[in-house]
Structure formats: structure tokens, C-alpha cells
């Protein structure tokens, strides 16, 4: 039995499902989740977390009572953090009139000390709505996700060359025709630049690239 909980820690429910710790059975939260179209799988061996969600995230629920009574919740949080390393660890915190005065300290501990994600809720009803959204949004495309859009680099290089004082679009294009990359351009000698932009601009460009720029010396 010793290693069974460890195996369960890695259990990921199918889409639209939540694995819930047995102790949540018959609660408002579970009742509302079902009402919100989320399917529940109960698991008695879930000891360190309260819920497992699809997309490898899990939830620890810190109630008003935990916070106000100082109910050992800090230790619970530390154990949760250590156990959920391969998951995105979310912490739902009941932020109520009673727990309000402790909220700032709880946030510091959860976010700054443990590096977990904190989401405040007013109670189980709000928590169930939020969890339902997390479950349902898992199957949709995330608009905030970093997009690896492959931008065309040529205009960007041109823009960098135009940052050289005295170099406009025409000169920048002429320079890039002869020195195709920024690295090559910055390594060009005055005599190599001269035929392209004339002697004065050649000296100017060369000096711009090579002038001692580091501050504080």
C-alpha cells in the first residue's frame, strides 16, 4: 500500500472529468460541478491534493476555516507543492470577510515562497464555477498561449540598420545588398563601406558600430 498514493498522484483524468478526493463527496462544490457538466471520479487515496484536472493540473482547496484556525494548512501546502512537481499546482483560497485579514500573508506564502498559483474564491459555489471553466477550457484553444509565429525577418533587419544615425531606407537597402547580415555589416571596414555609401557615411557608420559604448567606464 505504501507506494499506491504516489502512483495516484500522477493520475490524469480524461477530458470533462475531475478526480476528487473522497472527502468531497456530498459537498456543495461537487454538487455544483455535476450541475456544470463536469463528471466526477472519486478516489479515496488522494491525500495530498483535493482535485486532479485534465491538462496535468491539480487543486488544493484552502478553506476559510483552515486559514482562520491556522489549521496546519501551511504544512499541507508544502507537502502539496512537493508532491505536485510534475503538475501545475493551483491553490484555491477562500477569501471571505473572516479570512480577509490573513489573505495577504497566505498569498505571500503560496505564490512567493512556494511558487504555486493562487486563485481566490468566496466559497464552494464560486470554486465549482471556476473549476468547471478550467476543465472545459482545457479542450479549447488558449488565446493567451505563446504563439511561435514565424515572422519574416528581412524587414526587421532593415529596421535595425535604419537605427544607424544618418542611414535611411535607401542607404540601408544598399548596405544590405553588399553585406547581407547585421554581423557582416558591423564587421565591414571603412574601405569596404565607401563604395556603397560614400566616404563620409562610411566613416560615420564604421564609427557608430565600433565606438566604445559601455557605460560606467
Amino acid at each position: 500500500m505504501e507506494n499506491k498514493p504516489a502512483a495516484l498522484l500522477n493520475a490524469v483524468p480524461p477530458y470533462g472529468h475531475v478526480i476528487a478526493s473522497e472527502k468531497w463527496r456530498e459537498t456543495t462544490l461537487i454538487h455544483n460541478l455535476k450541475g456544470g457538466g463536469v463528471k466526477i471520479l472519486f478516489e479515496s487515496e488522494l491525500s495530498l491534493t483535493d482535485f486532479h484536472l485534465p491538462n496535468k493540473s491539480c487543486i488544493l482547496y484552502v478553506s476559510e476555516c483552515d486559514i482562520v484556525a491556522g489549521n496546519n494548512y501551511k504544512r499541507k501546502l508544502v507537502r502539496y507543492r512537493n508532491a505536485s512537481s510534475s503538475f501545475q499546482g493551483l491553490v484555491l483560497v477562500e477569501r471571505t470577510r473572516l479570512s480577509e485579514q490573513f489573505f495577504s500573508a497566505v498569498q505571500k506564502f503560496v505564490v512567493f515562497d512556494l511558487g504555486l498559483t493562487l486563485l481566490p474564491v468566496s466559497g464552494q459555489t464560486e470554486a465549482s464555477q471556476l473549476i468547471a471553466q478550467i476543465v472545459h477550457s482545457g479542450s479549447r484553444e488558449n488565446p493567451f498561449r505563446r504563439s511561435s509565429s514565424s515572422q519574416l525577418l528581412d524587414p526587421l533587419v532593415l529596421a535595425v540598420v535604419q537605427q544607424v544615425p544618418g542611414v535611411g531606407r535607401i542607404k540601408a537597402l544598399a548596405l544590405l545588398q553588399n553585406f547581407s547580415s547585421l554581423q557582416q555589416l558591423s564587421s565591414a571596414t571603412i574601405s569596404e563601406l565607401e563604395p556603397v555609401v560614400g566616404p563620409a557615411a562610411a566613416r560615420h557608420i564604421h564609427s557608430f558600430f565600433h565606438k566604445h559604448a559601455a557605460a560606467g567606464t
Partner: protein, 235 residues
């Protein structure tokens, strides 16, 4: 991790860059950062109204109703994606809505749309911090900057550049893709000339720019990218 032992020492001064657009809305916050949290705050022109608290972290403030308004979605998505291109870590401070003096605080109506926004933000790796107002936001910014400093990510170069040539070099570095203001600042102070940066190895760019290896590699490749001027002329 010696963070417990350090708590007795006086907190070291932290450096924060602020976009000039934050000024009018954040006068109290800046005053608090400087006076209560002894932070070195420098106002500069960033590409959006946000704060830079370390070499890798940007922070933006949003009111709760801002996040809850459906018509703001497009702008929020653009902002967050823009920040994620420039920074390894993006934090949003979600602030309770301010009430005018004498006005009763209206309870915030939590909608499905709001929860959906939170879920999407969390899933994309954006860090959320919760604040009651300006004073607390200043505290969170200072705490975050201090935490990053302890992890060796604090901004350690002077927050401004002096002299025309250095200012021009800074502008050139800022025009490099995926280079944030703090990376450009680091480059200005750590490379003796622009040519030196442009001829540097990936490791040297990473070290001098105080950036991640993948970002340094992106800069390295960009500097060696061979342009097709024919394509540019026709466009």
C-alpha cells in the same frame, strides 16, 4: 535556500523600470515604491504600460472589472502575448476596483467569462497576484523584485544610459526582435561596442544581455540572418 536567514538583514534596494504611460495612473504607487519600499524606480518608454522587475519578469496591473469585460479580451490577449515574447515570466496584478469616496463598495459580480479568462491565463503560464489597491500593488511589485534579486535575476546595471551615442545604441538594441528594454540596457552596459555584440557567441550574448539561452540564440541567429534585398525592395 537561505531565504529564512536573510530576513534579518535590511532589505536590499531593488530596481524597477516603469513605462511612462503608467505615470498618470500610478503616481501614488511610484511614491510608495520609492519611499516605503526604497526601490530605485526609473521611468522609461516601454512598448506598453507595464513594469519590469527583473531581467526576466514583467508585471502589468489590471482591475478586476478590466479582466471581466468581454470587450477587453482582444487587447488583453495582444498585451499578454506581446509580453510573453519579451519576458520569461509575465505577472498580472489583479486589483480590486476602486470606489469613489462616499460610494459604497459594490460586490464584484463573478461571471463565467471572468473565470474562463482566469483559467486561460493560468494555463498559459501567466502568474496572477491579487491586490486590494495601489498600496498593496506597490508592496507586491517590491516583493517580486526582491524575490527575483535573491534568485540572481535582479536588474544589476544602471537603469539609464547617458550620452547621445549610448542612447542611439540602446535604440538599436531595442529594435532587435525579442529583446526587451532590460535586455537592451544590459547590452548597453556590458558590450564595449555594437560590433562586439554583433560578433559575440551565443554564450556571450546570453551573459551580456542577461537573457535565457534560447533568447540569446534567437538574437545570435537574427544577427547572422542573410537578407534578401530583392524581396524587400518589391514589398
Amino acid at each position: 535556500d537561505a531565504s529564512a536567514g536573510e530576513s534579518t538583514a535590511p532589505p536590499a534596494s531593488v530596481c524597477i523600470l516603469v513605462d511612462s504611460r503608467c505615470l498618470s495612473a500610478s503616481v501614488d504607487l511610484m511614491t510608495s515604491l520609492r519611499q516605503r519600499h526604497a526601490a530605485a524606480v526609473h521611468v522609461c518608454s516601454l512598448d506598453g504600460s507595464y513594469f519590469i522587475v527583473s531581467n526576466r519578469t514583467a508585471v502589468e496591473r489590471h482591475s478586476q472589472s478590466d479582466l471581466a469585460a468581454q470587450q477587453n479580451r482582444k487587447r488583453l490577449v495582444e498585451r499578454v502575448r506581446g509580453l510573453q515574447r519579451l519576458f520569461e515570466r509575465v505577472c498580472l496584478i489583479v486589483e480590486k476596483d476602486r470606489t469613489k469616496p462616499g460610494e459604497a463598495a459594490r460586490p464584484f459580480q463573478r461571471t463565467r467569462y471572468y473565470d474562463n479568462t482566469l483559467a486561460a491565463l493560468v494555463r498559459s503560464g501567466v502568474r496572477l497576484l491579487w491586490s486590494d489597491g495601489t498600496e498593496q500593488s506597490a508592496g507586491l511589485l517590491a516583493d517580486l523584485a526582491r524575490l527575483e534579486q535573491r534568485k540572481g535575476q535582479g536588474i544589476s546595471v544602471p537603469l539609464e544610459v547617458k550620452g547621445q551615442h549610448r542612447e542611439q545604441a540602446l535604440q538599436l538594441y531595442l529594435s532587435l526582435p525579442s529583446v526587451s528594454h532590460v535586455h537592451a540596457l544590459n547590452m548597453c552596459h556590458n558590450f564595449s561596442s555594437i560590433a562586439q555584440l554583433m560578433n559575440s557567441s551565443i554564450e556571450a550574448i546570453q551573459k551580456g544581455g542577461c537573457m535565457s539561452p534560447s533568447r540569446a540564440e534567437e538574437v545570435y541567429r537574427f544577427l547572422r540572418y542573410s537578407c534578401d534585398t530583392f524581396l524587400m525592395k518589391t514589398s
